[in-house]
C-alpha cells in the first residue's frame, strides 16, 4: 500500500509541466452586490477555461493576469449567484455585480477533503445551510438551528431539558449496534459529539443498577457546545455516496462546519443583544376529584385526611411554570487587509429553564486569523474557547420515585406540596419524593470547558494558466473537560430510602481529539479549455482519547457535598481511545463546456477499533452529473446526477476484545475472570454502499428551484451478537453479518413568487421519507431497547423494518401472549415549509415542521393510568370487549389499563404525528436616516427583531412532546416516553447594531 501511494504521488508530481505562458495582460476589476452595490471582498474570481484565479480584496477589488484575447471572467461567492462577464481584448477594467442567491442554488460545495465544486455541477445531494438560515430565531445548539431545514435529516430533541441532547439521523437507520451519530468536522478537525451520562442513575436507579451504560441520564451530546453564530456554513454529506472520502467513520454521514473568516476592508463590528423567556408549552393535566370517596378509591385511605373539596393544585405549573429572564449577547469583529484577515466573536448566553434550578449557560470566544505569507502561502489559525453549564434537573425514567414526572402520576392534585413559610417543604404522602422540593434543593450540573483549534497551511505550489498545485496541511485539536456534579442533600424526602442519607456524585471526563490532514490538489485545464481535471490525494491521522471517572458518595449526614464526606464511596473509570490512519485519492473531471462532471475516488483506512489494526479497508466512490442549460419553457437549467459510494461504521471501542473482568475480589484478594461476551479478533467495520440519483431544476429565471433525490443504502457486515454454546464459557460473541437496506426520497423546492423592490417573498419547502428493511439476519430475530414487550420493544427481524415496534396484542384462546408489530419509530414522512416575506424594512419569517406518522411508546401515560390520576380517568366510555366476551368497563383510563393487564398494550403505543411552528420572527431594519439621527454616523445598521421558537405545536399525541427519547440518542430505540423534561417555547426580543 505504502509503495503504491508513494509512487502515485511521484507520478503526479513528475507529470506536471512547468508553466510557459506567452502573452498576458492585467485585468483589474471590482465585485459588488446587486442591487445595493456593496463592495464584496472575498469573492473567488477566475478566468473560465484556465486555472487563472484570484480572490477579491479590499473594496472588492481584484487583479488578474489573463491571456490576451477575449476572456470570460467568473465570480463566485457564498450567498450570491455566480456572475460571469466577457472581457474584450481591449478592456482592462471591469465591474461585476452579484445577485443574492436567496434559494441557495449556487455557490461552491465541498467534494472531498480539500476540493470544492460549483453547486450547479455537483453530482450528489449535499445540503448547505448558511448562517442566515440558522440564526433567524435564537437556538441553544447547532442541531436546533438546522432542525427542519435539511431534507433527509431527522433532527429531534430527546426531551425539553435546557442545553441540548438532540439526535441527528441522516437518511434513516444505518446501523443496529454501532454508533448512530454523524461525524462532525469543524474547520478540518473532527469534533467530539460524545454524550457522557451524568451518573444521575446513581440516584434514579433507572437502570436498576444492572446497566452500566447509564443511557437514561438525559445526557447531552457535546456538539451542543458550539456557537451557531460563528458558523459560515454547514455542509451535510448524508450518506456513503457523498461521504466515502471519510472512510470508516462516515456511514452515518458527515456534517462539515466552516466558521467565518474576516474579509478585507473596513473593520465591521456587530452586536446583538437578546432578551426573552421560556414558558412551558404543554402539560399533561391530572384527574380532578369531586368527592372524598373518589379520592380514597384512587389513592387509598391516606387521601381522606388530605382531601379538601374544591382545593386543587396545578402541580405541573408549580414545578415548571417559571418564565425567568433569559439573555444572550453576541458580538463579532471582523475585517482585515489583503494580507491579514481576522474574525473575532463572543457569545454570552444565559437561558433560564422553566423548572427551578434548571437552565443553560454558554460562553464562547473565537479568534480566526488568516495571514498570507509571500504570494503563495496562507496560514490560518482558528481557535474557539467554549464554556457551557447545563442544569437539567432530575427527569426521565427512575426506580426510586424521584424523577418529577415519575412522581406526578401518583400524586393527586389536592395535596399541597409548595414550600412553607419557614422554608421547608411538606412531605408528599403519596410518593417517595416531593418534586417541588427536589427541584428546589437538588443540584445537577454539567460544566464543560472546551477548546477547538486548528492551524491550516495552504500553499500554491504551482500556478499557471493551465495548471495549479495546492498543498494543504491542517492540524488541529479538540479538547474538552466535562464535570458532572450532582448533589442530593440529606433533607430531600427520598434520601433516607436507601438507608444512606444524602448523595454526592462527581464525574470528570476529558476528551482529546488530535487530527492531522495533508492534501495535495492538482488542477489542470488545457489551453483549449475543453476540460478541467482536478486530482487530489492526501492522508489523515486521527486520535481520540476519552477518559471518564466517577465517584459516588453516599451517607453524607452532615450535608457537605464533598465526595469524601460520605461513608459509602464507589469509584469507576472508563477509557476509550481510537486511532485512525487514512489515505485517499480522487479525480474530478469537468468537461463538455462544464456540462459533464465525472468524479471518482477511493479512500483507504485502518483503525484501532477493527480486529486487526493493520488491515486496510477500501471505500470507493464515483459520480456523474450532466447539465442541460437553457432547456426552454421556463426551465433555465436541468441537471441529472447519479452517485455511488461506500463508507464504513467502525466497531465501538472494546468490541473486538475478549475482556476479562478485573473488578471482582474475594476478601480483598484481586482476581481476573472471563466475561460472558467474546470479542472477535477479525472484527471489521460495517460497510454501507449507497446509490443516489437525482434531478435539479432551476426555473423561471432563477425564481424557482427543485431538487429531487432518491437513494438506496445497503449496509452489510452489520455488527451483531451471536449466541454461543454456554458450555464454551461464553454466551455471546460480536461478529459481522447481515444486511440492512434503506430507501428514501428527498425533495426540496424553493421559489421567490414575488420579488419587487419593496416586497419580496421567498418560500422553501422540503419533503423527506425513508423505509428500512432487514434483508438478512444470520441470528434469530431479537429484541433491542425498551423495557420488554408489555411496555413496547423494538424487534430486529428479517424482512421487517429495522425500527419496528412490537408489543403485546392480546391473549390467545389458550392464554398465551400474542406479541406483534404495532408501529414504527421512524415517521412516514417529514415536511417543512419556511417563508420569508420582506416588505420595506420589515421582514417576517416562519418555519413549519410537520412529521406524519411514527409511533411513540407512551409509558408516562401508563404510569398516570397506574396512579389512576390521568384526565382519562374522568372520561366515561362504553365497556370494551376484549374479544372472548370478557368486558372491561370503567373510565377510558381504567379500560386502557385493564386491557394492558389483559395482555394488550396497544393503548400506550401512540401516534407521533405533529406540526410545529419551529421558528417565527418579525424584524424591522431601521432606515439609515433614522439611525443617523438616533445614533450618529458611526452606526450603519440597526435591526430590531421579535422572535420565537416552538411557539405552536399541533399534535394528537397525548404525552408531553412527540419528540422524545428516554434513552437519548439511539440507532433504533428512540421514541420511548418515560417522564421527560416538559417542553417549552421561547420568546425573544433582539436588537442588532453594526458599525
Amino acid at each position: 500500500m505504502r509503495r503504491r501511494l508513494f509512487s502515485l504521488c511521484l507520478l503526479l508530481l513528475a507529470g506536471m509541466a512547468l508553466p510557459a505562458d506567452a502573452q498576458q495582460r492585467e485585468i483589474r476589476g471590482r465585485v459588488v452586490s446587486s442591487p445595493e452595490q456593496f463592495e464584496l471582498p472575498g469573492a473567488l474570481v477566475s478566468v473560465v477555461g484556465t486555472q487563472i484565479g484570484a480572490v477579491s480584496g479590499q473594496n472588492g477589488v481584484f487583479l488578474l493576469s489573463a491571456p490576451s484575447g477575449e476572456v470570460r471572467i467568473r465570480v463566485t461567492m457564498l450567498g450570491y449567484k455566480t456572475g460571469e462577464v466577457v472581457v474584450s481584448p481591449q478592456q482592462d477594467n471591469v465591474t461585476i455585480s452579484l445577485e443574492t442567491d436567496v434559494l441557495n442554488i449556487e455557490g461552491v460545495v465541498v467534494t472531498g477533503r480539500a476540493t470544492q465544486i460549483a453547486r450547479r455541477n455537483l453530482a450528489v445531494a449535499i445540503a448547505t445551510v448558511t448562517v442566515d438560515e440558522m440564526t433567524r430565531a435564537p437556538s441553544e445548539t447547532l442541531e436546533k438551528a438546522i432542525q427542519g431545514k435539511v431534507p433527509g435529516a431527522l433532527i429531534e430533541t430527546n426531551s425539553g431539558a435546557p442545553g441540548g441532547g438532540m439526535q441527528v439521523r441522516l437518511r434513516g437507520t444505518s446501523t443496529i449496534n454501532a454508533g448512530s451519530q454523524p461525524l462532525y468536522v469543524v474547520d478540518g478537525v473532527i469534533a467530539s459529539n460524545v454524550a457522557i451520562p451524568s451518573n444521575q442513575n446513581a440516584i434514579s436507579l433507572a437502570s436498576g443498577g444492572s446497566n452500566p451504560s447509564l443511557t437514561q441520564d438525559a445526557q447531552v451530546n457535546r456538539i451542543s457546545d458550539l456557537n451557531p453564530n460563528d458558523i459560515e456554513k454547514i455542509e451535510i454529506l448524508k450518506g456513503a455516496a457523498a461521504s466515502a472520502i471519510y472512510g470508516s467513520a462516515a456511514a452515518n454521514g458527515v456534517i462539515i462546519i466552516t466558521t467565518k473568516q474576516g474579509r478585507p476592508g473596513k473593520t465591521r463590528f456587530e452586536l446583538t443583544q437578546r432578551a426573552g423567556f421560556f414558558s412551558i408549552s404543554n402539560k399533561l393535566g391530572s384527574r380532578s376529584f369531586e368527592s372524598v370517596e373518589e379520592a380514597v378509591s384512587a389513592f387509598g385511605e391516606g387521601a381522606r385526611a388530605v382531601f379538601t373539596p374544591g382545593v386543587a393544585f396545578d402541580q405541573e405549573e408549580l414545578l415548571a411554570g417559571r418564565n425567568d429572564l433569559s439573555t444572550e449577547t453576541i458580538f463579532s469583529l471582523s475585517g482585515g487587509t489583503d494580507r491579514t484577515r481576522f474574525f473575532v466573536s463572543g457569545l454570552w448566553k444565559n437561558d433560564e429553564g422553566i423548572i427551578a434550578n434548571t437552565g443553560f449557560e454558554k460562553q464562547s470566544v473565537r479568534v480566526n486569523l488568516q495571514q498570507r505569507i509571500g504570494d503563495r502561502a496562507t496560514l490560518t489559525f482558528n481557535t474557539n474557547l467554549m464554556h457551557t453549564l447545563a442544569e437539567r434537573g432530575l427527569t426521565n425514567n427512575d426506580n426510586a420515585g424521584v424523577s418529577y414526572y415519575m412522581v406526578f402520576p401518583f400524586t393527586p392534585n389536592f395535596v399541597n406540596l409548595s414550600q412553607r413559610a419557614d422554608g421547608t417543604f411538606p412531605t408528599n404522602p403519596f410518593e417517595r419524593s416531593n418534586p417541588l422540593q427536589t427541584a428546589a434543593l437538588l443540584k445537577n450540573q454539567e460544566d464543560v470547558w472546551r477548546m477547538i483549534g486548528s492551524t491550516d497551511l495552504n500553499i500554491d505550489v504551482l500556478k499557471s494558466r493551465t495548471q495549479s498545485l495546492q498543498f494543504r496541511l491542517t492540524a488541529g485539536l479538540d479538547f474538552f473537560s466535562q464535570e458532572n456534579e450532582i448533589f442530593s442533600p440529606p433533607e430531600l424526602q427520598f434520601e433516607p430510602n436507601d438507608g444512606l442519607v444524602g448523595t454526592s456524585l462527581l464525574s470528570r471526563s476529558d476528551n482529546l481529539n488530535i487530527n492531522i490532514n495533508a492534501n495535495l490538489v492538482h488542477s489542470y485545464t488545457p489551453t483549449s479549455g475543453s476540460y478541467t481535471a482536478i486530482t487530489s490525494g492526501g492522508m489523515q491521522y486521527e486520535d481520540s482519547d476519552l477518559n471518564v471517572s466517577r465517584i459516588t458518595s453516599q451517607n453524607l449526614i452532615a450535608g457537605q457535598p464533598n465526595v469524601n464526606a460520605g461513608t459509602v464511596i464507589g469509584v469507576n473509570e472508563f477509557r476509550q481511545r481510537v486511532r485512525n490512519v487514512g489515505f485517499y485519492i480522487q479525480e474530478e473531471l469537468l468537461m463538455l463546456d462544464e456540462r459533464l462532471m465525472l468524479s471518482g475516488g477511493i479512500r483507504t483506512d485502518r483503525s484501532s477499533t477493527v480486529g486487526n489494526s493493520s488491515d486496510f479497508f477500501y471505500y470507493p466512490k464515483a459520480s456523474v452529473s450532466y447539465r442541460f442549460p437553457d432547456v426552454g419553457s421556463g426551465i433555465d437549467e436541468l441537471k441529472l446526477r447519479a452517485a455511488w459510494g461506500q463508507a464504513g461504521n467502525q466497531p465501538l471501542f472494546g468490541q473486538k476484545f475478549t475482556a476479562l473482568t478485573g473488578t471482582n475480589n474475594i476478601e480483598g484478594i484481586p482476581t481476573i475472570i472471563v466475561q460472558g461476551t467474546a470479542g472477535d479478533p477479525g472484527l471489521k467495520p460495517e460497510r454501507q454502499e449507497e446509490i443516489e440519483a437525482g434531478i435539479d431544476v432551476s426555473l423561471f429565471d432563477g425564481k424557482a428551484s427543485l431538487e429531487v433525490t432518491g437513494f438506496q443504502k445497503n449496509i452489510t457486515e452489520l455488527l451483531l451478537q451471536r449466541t454461543l454454546a454456554p458450555s464454551s464459557g461464553f454466551t455471546t460473541q460480536i461478529f459481522n453479518g447481515g444486511e440492512l437496506r434503506v430507501r428514501g426520497l428527498e425533495v426540496a423546492v424553493g421559489a421567490t413568487p414575488i420579488n419587487t423592490g419593496r416586497l419580496s417573498w421567498v418560500s422553501r419547502a422540503t419533503l423527506y421519507f425513508d423505509r428500512s428493511e432487514i434483508l438478512s439476519l444470520p441470528v434469530p430475530s431479537f429484541r433491542t431497547g425498551g423495557f420488554g414487550t408489555s411496555l413496547g420493544s423494538f424487534q430486529i427481524e428479517e424482512g421487517a423494518s429495522a425500527t419496528q415496534i412490537v408489543t403485546n396484542l392480546g391473549l390467545n384462546p389458550d392464554g398465551s401472549q400474542i406479541v406483534g408489530r404495532v408501529g414504527n419509530a421512524n415517521p412516514d414522512f417529514k415536511v417543512s415549509w419556511g417563508n420569508d416575506v420582506q416588505f420595506g424594512n420589515f421582514t417576517l419569517y416562519g418555519l413549519w415542521d410537520w412529521q406524519q406518522g411514527g409511533t411513540i411508546i407512551n409509558l408516562t401515560k401508563l404510569l398516570f393510568d397506574f396512579g389512576q390520576n390521568y384526565v382519562d380517568h374522568e372520561k366515561v366510555v362504553d365497556a370494551f370487549d376484549v374479544g372472548d366476551g370478557t368486558m372491561i368497563s370503567g373510565t377510558m383510563g381504567e379500560q386502557r389499563l385493564g386491557r394492558w393487564f389483559n395482555g394488550d398494550s396497544r393503548g400506550y403505543m401512540d401516534d407521533a404525528t405533529y406540526l410545529k411552528l419551529r421558528e417565527l420572527s418579525v424584524s424591522y431594519k431601521f432606515p439609515p436616516s433614522v439611525i443617523t439621527s438616533l445614533l450618529g454616523n458611526a452606526v450603519d445598521g440597526l435591526t430590531a427583531t421579535l422572535s420565537g421558537r416552538n411557539l405552536l405545536t399541533f399534535t394528537g399525541y397525548d404525552g408531553l412532546d412527540p419528540e422524545v427519547s428516554n434513552f437519548g440518542n439511539q440507532a433504533i430505540a428512540r421514541n420511548v416516553d418515560v417522564a421527560p423534561f416538559p417542553p417549552s417555547r421561547s420568546f425573544w426580543f433582539s436588537l442588532n447594531v453594526s458599525f
Binding site: 504521488c9 498543498f471 492522508m539 491521522y541 485512525n580 476484545f657 471482582n664 460472558g676 464459557g729
Partner: protein, 466 residues
C-alpha cells in the same frame, strides 16, 4: 513535529525555486505516507485486562491473579437466591423461595417441569460453571507461556486449577445427572460445540482431573505462589490442599459407587473424628467493594428464603426432650407464610450474615461419606460407628443400637440430611442416587420432584446450527 514542517514550508514559499520545491515536496509526501503506514495503531483495552495478554504474554502477577479468579468464579451462584444451594434445596425439599415477584420458584421448581429456556431456573447452574472451567483452562494454557515461576510453582497452580475444574464439573453433573454434560471444554470458540456425553463419562473425567491434580500437587513444593481466601485456612499449601482434593475425590467415589476407592481417598483426606466437624474448606463472602455478599442470609420475619418444615418435623428429640441440636441451630420459627398453597413457618439460621461462609466440603460430610462407603461395602459395624458418632456429636442424640443392613441406609440418609442441611443440595442428590426422590414430601399433591435439570436451550440451539 508540525511546527518544524510549517517552518520549512514558509522558507520554501519565500525563496526556493520551483525546481527545488518539487523533490522536497515529494519527500514530504513520502514521509507522511510512511508515517501513516508504519504508525502503530494497536490500542489495548484500557478498561479491562485483556484475555490476549493472559494467553500470549502472561506475567507472574497476571497468572497469580487469574488463579485467584477461580475462587471468585467457583463462588458465583453459591450465595444467590436462585443459585446452587437455593435451587437444589428447593428441589430436595430442604427450602423454599417465596419471592413475591417471581412465582416460578414454586410453579416451576416445585410444581412443573424445569424449563430449559428460563435462564434463572431450569437452564440455570450451567453457564457460570462452564465459565469458570474456561477460566481454569485459560490459566492452565497461560502456564506454558509465562516466565518467572519455578517448576514446583507451576505444578502447584496446575493442581489447584484442575481441582477447581473438577469441582465445577461435579456441580454441573449434579444438576444434569443422566442428561449428561460437556467435558471437552478447551475448544476454540469458533469450533463446533463439544458433544454432550453421558453421566459416567463425566464422572470419569472428574476423577481424571482430580487425580491429575493430585499428581501436580505432589510436585507442587511447599507453598502456592498465589493467595487463597481465609476459607482455605489449613488447606493453603499444596500438601494440605491435596487433602481437600482427596476429600472431593471421596465424594465423587461415593457418587460413582466406588466405595473401596472412597475409603482410600478418605484416608488421604482431612477426615478426623477428633477434630471439629466444621473443619473444612469454605466459600467466603464479604461486603467490601468488588466482593460478593452471601444473599442466603435472610433475617426478616417474612423472609423469601424459608426452610421446608419436613426437617424440623422429622428430627428426633434428645434425651432431655429437646430437639436435635442441628435443628435447634439451623432452623428458626417465623410466622407461617403461604404462597400458592405452599406454607412454612420455618426459616434458616444457618447463614447469619452477608459474610457467612458456605462449605465446599467439611469434616462432618467426610465422616458420613465413610459411613456411606462402609454401608455400600456391607461393613455395617464400621458404618454404624460413624453414624452414631454423628448422631451423638452433631445432633446430641443417643446412639442407635438397632442398625442393621436393612435400616442403616435410611438412617445414613437421614443423618446426611440433617447434618448437611441447605449446604449444597445434598438431600436431593443423595435421595436421587438411591432412587428415593419419590419419598420426598409434596406440599401440594399436583407437585412433583424434578429429577434433573434439562440441558439449557442455548446449548441445544448451538448444536442445531442456530
Amino acid at each position: 513535529m508540525t511546527a518544524m514542517r510549517l517552518n520549512r514550508f514558509s522558507i520554501l514559499s519565500e525563496g526556493y525555486t520551483k525546481m527545488r520545491k518539487l523533490p522536497l515536496l515529494s519527500v514530504l509526501v513520502g514521509a507522511f505516507v510512511l508515517a501513516g503506514c508504519s504508525d502503530d495503531l494497536l490500542i489495548p483495552d484500557f478498561n479491562n485486562p485483556s484475555l490476549e495478554e493472559l494467553t500470549t504474554s502472561p506475567t507472574r502477577v497476571l497468572v497469580n491473579t487469574a488463579a485467584q479468579g477461580l475462587l471468585v468464579g467457583t463462588r458465583r451462584q453459591m450465595g444467590t437466591r436462585n443459585g446452587y444451594v437455593s435451587l437444589l434445596g428447593i428441589l430436595g425439599r430442604e427450602s423454599y423461595n417465596f419471592d413475591g415477584s417471581d412465582p416460578r420458584f414454586i410453579t416451576e421448581m416445585l410444581g412443573g417441569a424445569l424449563d430449559p429456556g428460563s435462564p434463572a431456573f431450569g437452564a440455570n447452574l450451567w453457564t457460570l460453571r462452564y465459565r469458570n472451567i474456561r477460566n481454569a483452562n485459560i490459566l492452565l494454557n497461560s502456564l506454558a507461556e509465562v516466565q518467572g515461576f519455578s517448576n514446583a510453582e507451576l505444578e502447584a497452580i496446575r493442581g489447584f486449577a484442575k481441582t477447581i475444574q473438577a469441582l465445577d464439573l461435579l456441580m454441573v453433573i449434579n444438576t444434569r445427572d443422566t442428561n449428561g454434560a460437556v467435558i471437552d471444554t478447551d475448544r476454540p470458540l469458533d469450533a463446533d460445540p463439544a458433544p454432550i456425553v453421558g453421566k459416567d463419562q463425566v464422572f470419569t473425567a472428574i476423577v481424571g482431573l482430580l487425580d491429575e491434580a493430585q499428581g501436580h500437587l505432589q510436585a507442587g513444593g511447599g507453598s502456592f505462589p498465589f493467595a487463597l481466601s481465609s476459607g482455605f485456612a489449613g488447606f493453603d499449601t499444596p500438601a494440605t490442599f491435596m487433602m481437600f482434593n482427596r476429600a472431593l475425590k471421596a465424594r465423587v467415589d461415593v457418587y460413582m459407587g466406588n466405595f473401596s476407592g472412597a475409603l482410600v481417598s478418605l484416608g488421604a483426606s482431612f477426615l478426623d473424628t477428633g477434630a471439629d466437624l466444621n473443619l473444612g474448606v469454605y466459600h467466603t463472602f464479604g461486603t467490601g467493594t468488588g466482593d460478593t455478599r452471601n444473599n442466603l442470609f435472610d433475617p426478616s420475619q417474612t423472609p423469601d428464603i424459608l426452610a421446608h418444615p419436613s426437617a424440623a418435623a422429622a428430627a428426633e428429640l434428645k434425651g432431655n426432650g429437646d430437639v436435635d441440636d442441628r435443628i435447634a441451630a439451623k432452623i428458626r420459627d417465623i410466622p407461617p407464610q403461604t404462597q400458592l398453597s405452599v406454607t412454612s413457618g420455618k426459616a434458616f439460621s444457618i447463614y447469619e450474615s452477608t459474610g457467612a461462609t458456605i462449605p465446599f466440603i467439611r469434616n462432618e460430610e467426610l465422616i458420613l461419606l465413610r459411613a456411606e462407603a462402609n454401608v455400600g461395602l456391607g461393613n455395617v459395624t464400621d458404618a454404624a460407628d460413624d453414624i452414631n458418632f454423628i448422631r451423638t456429636t452433631s445432633g446430641g442424640l443417643a446412639a442407635r443400637t438397632d442398625l442393621t443392613s436393612a435400616n442403616i441406609l435410611d438412617e445414613l440418609l437421614n443423618q446426611k440430611w440433617l447434618s448437611l442441611l441447605f449446604e449444597g443440595g445434598h438431600r436431593w442428590i443423595d435421595m436421587r442416587r438411591y432412587g428415593k426422590l419419590s419419598e420426598l414430601p409434596l406440599a401440594v399433591p399436583s407437585h412433583r420432584v424434578n429429577e434433573k435439570f434439562p440441558i439449557p436451550e442455548a446449548e441445544q440451539l448451538a448444536r442445531q446450527g442456530g
